[in-house]
Symmetry: C2
Subunit: 355 residues, 2 copies
Amino acid sequence: MNSTNIELDITKAASSKIDQVDFDNLQFGKVNADHMMYCDYKDGEWQTPKIVPYGPMEFEPSAKVFHYGQAVFEGMKAFKDENDEVWLFRPDQNFERINKSSKRMAIPEFPKDYFFESLKTLLELDKDWVKKGEGNSLYLRPFVIATENGVSASESDEYRFMIITCPAQAYYNKPIKVIFAQEYSRAADGGVGYAKAAGNYGAQFYPTKLAKAKGLDQIIWTDASSHEYLEEAGTMNIFFRVGDKLLTAPTNDRILDGVTRKSIIQLAKDNGVEVVVEKVSVKEIVNAAKKGELKEIFGAGTAATVVRVDGFEYDGTYHDLPTINEPYGTFFKKALQDIQYNRVEDPHGWTMKAF
Amino acid sequence: MNSTNIELDITKAASSKIDQVDFDNLQFGKVNADHMMYCDYKDGEWQTPKIVPYGPMEFEPSAKVFHYGQAVFEGMKAFKDENDEVWLFRPDQNFERINKSSKRMAIPEFPKDYFFESLKTLLELDKDWVKKGEGNSLYLRPFVIATENGVSASESDEYRFMIITCPAQAYYNKPIKVIFAQEYSRAADGGVGYAKAAGNYGAQFYPTKLAKAKGLDQIIWTDASSHEYLEEAGTMNIFFRVGDKLLTAPTNDRILDGVTRKSIIQLAKDNGVEVVVEKVSVKEIVNAAKKGELKEIFGAGTAATVVRVDGFEYDGTYHDLPTINEPYGTFFKKALQDIQYNRVEDPHGWTMKAF
């Protein structure tokens, strides 16, 4: 990344916790690297970003984030290549999206130079936490929370932007089973579904818990009005392969504009795979499954990269997906990871050296 | 309230802050009484509730509430009568509703005896913070937040239930202007609109900010699918008086089942006012306004009690509401407050002596 004139306020950890971590048995999101960034918004502006040792912070119980869910986040990953260089994947997309999310949630936008300088500094300080090897990464979690004290339901006038980081292995290590939503919904037209707003996630936990009780892992959400169109999974966008065509829903105000999703659409075009970005009807997919034409479903997201779906439940019937040779999912996962770990050329300029 | 066998863990404030508070100039939700309650859920159960001096608490930045909005709340008020007795208004309704909200948000339900014993203890300790006089109350804010550390998008296995309290005057002291939603939405069918989930509120701040920029105070939300039916305002249910009939939308999975709303419906029946609890169409209301048959709109909620709407914008046109004699809104506000302040008989057993 280019250097800027931003001066961060840096307090280094007295010692590293890295030796206490078993990197072969990481639970996603549970372990934090040594440092974090926080930056407060007050008196109408973002103050100097601070890098400090990761640890608890004090908040008043009346802070608005606890009551009104005025909070947004992002998910990104840093990858280490064979030469120990650390890379980010399309961080400009995450930066743009967190501000898009913030705007919808009435949170002030964050300055670009603060964002990139903070990432750079954190990754340089904690570079040993970024492990080499397939599936390994340092997961980066930028987020913004409303910190004004006071339980009145209006937007906060104080915020905290933070970046915390967690060493990660692959998010899902086996294929998942899903259910197509018929009762519950994730987002309304005119709502906040397209934003990475905190409340979008908490609202999915209960329906997902019901799905898990039936032995299913995730829900593929459908449109709230008719439940006739497949939209996205809770933490991933979703692709369907019917014959040799790859189908995925267009983004709209209910669907998150995923970075992995748009990268796969581009990679499909690069590799001569026909991609159809149109509303995907439940009927069409169920019929394709019945006729044996539905060859694959896979999810795509930063945490998961690409995850194979091996079957779906709809209307009380479970449909197994076939095991096929050379699945698109595997192909795109490898193509993405080759770029992310700097193992191949990067024709679209997606990667950025971290420091 | 009945006494129970619950032992709370109580740490009293060394001294009271009450003398520092200007009770004639309170900003809603900004000042907290001396004590608060918190109760942690871990290892599968709610621990002993603790009463402690109000103040900041430590949270890890990876606590799930900051990332996934897994949080719910309630709003209640305690009133002081002329004999210095402190009363709660239908607290059973708030207790039931917070557990209903919790269930939808995959949060474990809170025990009834913990809830009531905590309220009783807090109100007894901080009884001087409940001021006599019209519009004065101690606002009570029970809430639950997900406190497990770890940025993976699934329900927390640790929670904190809290009650904080704020001395309050009337929430809105003047009539408000509203806009009927045509673009943005509050809740989806199959979503969490009926729950007091934190994210429902944060999601309204941006559209409300746009409304405020046009000189309007609040949005009356319509159904997300068609925007043809009027549902609720952000922090209130909503009533329309057409001729002498009182109309309000039935509750559904998008609309909060308000305690003030259901109390007004009962009071209307008690007083021979015809109440129609049916879908209220935008067309019907706009036509009634044009014909001069729309006599009143008012909002009803715990924070606001009853607030008069003096006009609404729809489709770019602002419709003024007439000033009428003996408005229903004023009548119901007085009828409610007479019960809340223990000035009249309470035929439905709505009030409960706090301690």
